[in-house]
Symmetry: C2
Subunit: 387 residues, 2 copies
């Protein structure tokens, strides 16, 4: 396959924007991506576009990709919507990378968008519920917080883990969110307060859950051999992988590890010829705090049951050895489903180029992104590096 | 890019199957695809899967790809839903071809599924409406038949074309459908009857509209260098392309040609080093009869305004020089949105291998498929050939 690079990235602030529709959010992320390309970008060189989105405003739209690309004046090119629930954005990037790797396209836009904040609580639960198995989970009354609560309870039991470690993820990610001007929640939280928050689905409380969000993100994926037409500091795709599992958690071999993540990470590491020890920073899918603990283990940062120790030792804090979710993560940056996976790639792009401002990690060379669909039905992992 | 081949294809009968859900339909198409692989296929060699679907049963499901691939026991692999309305299936094949062309995957499943028949008329109109521009078309009361009626009226005016030619498409495709055991409508219709049917949206009448359908289709896309592990008579992807346009028809330069189709066809012809004159048979997107006339011109089979003459001369009939929609097309075979683009590829696969039974075209060497999203927001074109 042909080598692939990233030369631009942009995203909206994540949050609550009643005055903006998906077209406006998409256009804003696209414009920031355009202006991030150091040597400028004539949009006419864009060969294809992928847009990740789950419901894009209440499940009322089909063929959203040409709707959005047409809105910013991109017509004629292949424009494709990709949907894998909360991993829609990661898979949009995945398809863009494959399209460039194939040699068929040279310059491809990967974007994601979601608008969730103007839904009622009931509609919002429905929205998230469809990412799981409708027949055996959603229609039986299972909420998404409920599924992750089951996973957390099992994890705590299996490895004799205290609930405190869930809250430590929230504390860390909220502290990082304060430093990210694009984050939805820029508010530090003390461990005691996080631990004492009202339950959502035991053992998960309010501070264990990511918010619902409006937002969009966009990155520009190009053939590495052409990267220097756009910038002198490209970011390279060193490896990438995706995986899947049974959608309903009751069908799985285990619920304290996501097979989709393990497969995705394994493929990405193998392609890059790298291991977890080479990763300098990571953006992982912390839709619920337990998901970040499991991600540490699925990505090989810690052995099974070893995630709490990483938190205990501060390894994944912003100043630690391997910062995780320097952006604030889904927990504090926000989680507009289709935008999330693209935003993770945008964050690592900035970090590797030293453009991450107050949340800059010290001199990272290799970054990882990890995006999960729903409760682990699908996942993507990217390994990104610089010259 | 690496050469790509097809080695298996299957599909359900299209029609009205209240007793089958999307899982059953998908499994049935998948099983037929498996059994079509001459030298057998161990499903464990499948590297990735793409599933095209718009609503898959009433817009109540997210992350449908792993739901379906998990249902047939495929887990671990990348499993991705692709949605571009009525072109979702064509884009699923497009992504599978790119994935193999990239060298990242060797054996990829491309499938499509839709279940439309258990929706009420109102819900069904909604379903189709979301494929257009919701803000400016659907919510303003524009139906899908209405959009194509506008296009037909404009085409008839621009080229002084009689309504009769619309009906001739219906007559031809219904005649072909009689020969296809998988077709939803196996009923010949006389020109007089087709012309005298009740109006749906003038100038389109009942026989100008494809039906709503349940159904699924699946094809197996592999690296050409490995094709002979699976069969001694592979079908090769000679060229492929995709395109897009503004979603709302009022934004377009013209409505009597689809820019998305023209771009898709141009790319496919260029890649294959072939022209329209090399195409021995085609499956084109006749969601409404007018769409087939426009397809003749967008694909270069006829000059602008020249489509009626092809019909007049019988060129596109089953026994003609360039048979179009030997399967019956969307009009008679049926149109389960996400399945359609995959089913077109499956049909040409059978035709090129001489396995199309009563509807077999005489010794074709090159076949074309053409799949359109909604009213032309997106399109894919494949050129397929054999040794």
């Amino acid at each position: 396959m042909r080598e692939v690079a990233l030369v631009g990235a942009g995203q909206t602030k994540f949050g609550d924007f009643p005055q903006k529709g998906i077209k406006e959010l998409f256009a804003e992320a696209y414009a920031e991506m355009l202006s991030s390309v150091d040597k400028g970008l004539d949009p006419r060189v864009i060969d294809a576009a992928y847009v990740g989105t789950l419901g894009s405003g209440g499940f009322q739209l089909g063929q959203v990709a040409p709707l959005l690309t047409g809105h910013v004046g991109l017509t004629g090119i292949p424009s494709v919507r990709v949907e894998n629930a909360c991993a829609s954005g990661g898979f949009a990037v995945f398809q863009a990378v494959l399209a460039v790797a194939s040699g068929v396209h040279d310059v491809v836009l990967a974007a994601g968008v979601e608008k969730m904040r103007d839904l009622s609580g009931e509609k919002s639960r429905y929205w998230l519920g469809v990412s799981g198995d409708t027949e055996y989970e959603r229609l039986a009354g299972m909420t998404f917080a409920g599924i992750y609560a089951m996973i957390a309870a099992r994890y705590m039991e299996e490895y004799s883990v205290d609930r405190k470690y869930l809250s430590m993820v929230a504390v860390k990610n909220h502290a990082n969110g304060v430093r990210n001007p694009k984050a939805q929640m820029r508010k530090a939280v003390a461990l005691e307060k996080a631990m004492g928050a009202p339950d959502v689905a035991y053992p998960l409380n309010l501070y264990d859950c990511s918010p619902t969000s409006d937002g969009a993100a966009a990155v520009l994926v190009v053939a590495a051999e052409r990267a220097h037409e756009f910038t002198d500091r490209p970011v390279y795709v060193l490896g990438f992988g995706a995986g899947s599992d049974y959608l309903a958690v009751h069908d799985r071999e285990t619920i304290t590890s996501f097979k989709a993540s393990v497969e995705a990470a394994g493929r990405a590491y193998e392609m890059a010829g790298l291991g977890p020890e080479d990763v300098d920073l990571a953006e992982v899918h912390d839709c619920f705090t337990i998901a970040e603990l499991i991600a540490y283990e699925d990505l090989g940062f810690a052995p099974r049951g070893g995630a709490p120790r990483l938190l205990e030792e501060g390894v994944t804090e912003l100043g630690g050895q391997k910062p995780v979710n320097a952006s604030g993560g889904l927990k504090a940056k926000g989680h507009p489903l289709g935008a999330t996976g693209v935003s993770q790639v945008a964050e690592v792009f900035l970090q590797l180029r030293g453009q991450a401002g107050d949340r800059q990690v010290r001199d990272p060379k290799v970054g990882l992104t990890h995006n999960v669909g729903g409760s682990g039905g699908t996942a993507t992992v990217f390994l990104l590096g610089r010259d």
